[in-house]
Symmetry: C2
Subunit: 130 residues, 2 copies
């Protein structure tokens, strides 16, 4: 734990543990509110464009809007999975899985690797691989 | 295991296991020879430029040349570490650690996250986070 002014700033292992604990409780909105920096940069693969997802999203409000737009496409979530994080320096990595049905689509299973960069106790970049 | 013509093509979990087994034996050259595609693309962070490392290296020969140039900078490797891989779809992720002394430098400890993309039984992209 690093003390910075009056605030206690989470280290990368602390932040990764908090992320993992919140994912196990499926508190995705709280993860964004509590752990993401204002200037968060989210990177998705090039082929995500075909699914109507931007390859780069910048800023907390834009990331929240993206999550909201995605949630609106979902008919039902049948199951969620998050692996324990791997940690290296100021980065951590997890596998995220989701068993879901999008509106008007057949049920499907999605898996991705997420890599998160931590700076000053917040997540400043996230990049997804799928 | 997918059969393709007369060749047995490794699945992503099989390839990740093989990568991990070879890393534990510190057979890094064999990993490149055996597991990398001819058109491998290696991505390093932007700040690597300051260390004389290209952010993008394309092709097996260029990746081998990069490894050779890096090895020439090393005075002594004191220890190596590779985590068990996380696997999601056709990607896997590991933490790589190295305790080493570069020529003319103090001993240091390096840690990075590597994310690998698999296609047709070979690693086609690798991206490092540090």
């Amino acid at each position: 734990m690093v003390i910075w002014g009056n605030e206690k700033m989470m280290t990368t292992p602390e932040l990764a543990s908090r992320y993992y604990a919140l994912m196990l409780e499926n508190k995705r909105a709280q993860i964004v509110d509590e752990l993401y920096a204002q200037d968060i940069v989210c990177k998705e693969p090039e082929h995500a464009i075909a699914m109507g997802i931007s390859t780069i999203t910048v800023g907390l409000e834009a990331v929240k809007a993206k999550a909201k737009a995605r949630a609106a496409m979902v008919a039902e979530i049948h199951g969620d999975y998050c692996s324990e994080p791997l940690i290296a320096g100021h980065f951590f990595s997890v596998v995220l899985g989701r068993d879901l049905t999008l509106k008007g689509k057949p049920r499907m299973s999605l898996q991705e690797i997420g890599v998160f960069e931590v700076k000053d106790g917040k997540i400043v970049t996230e990049q997804f691989f799928y």
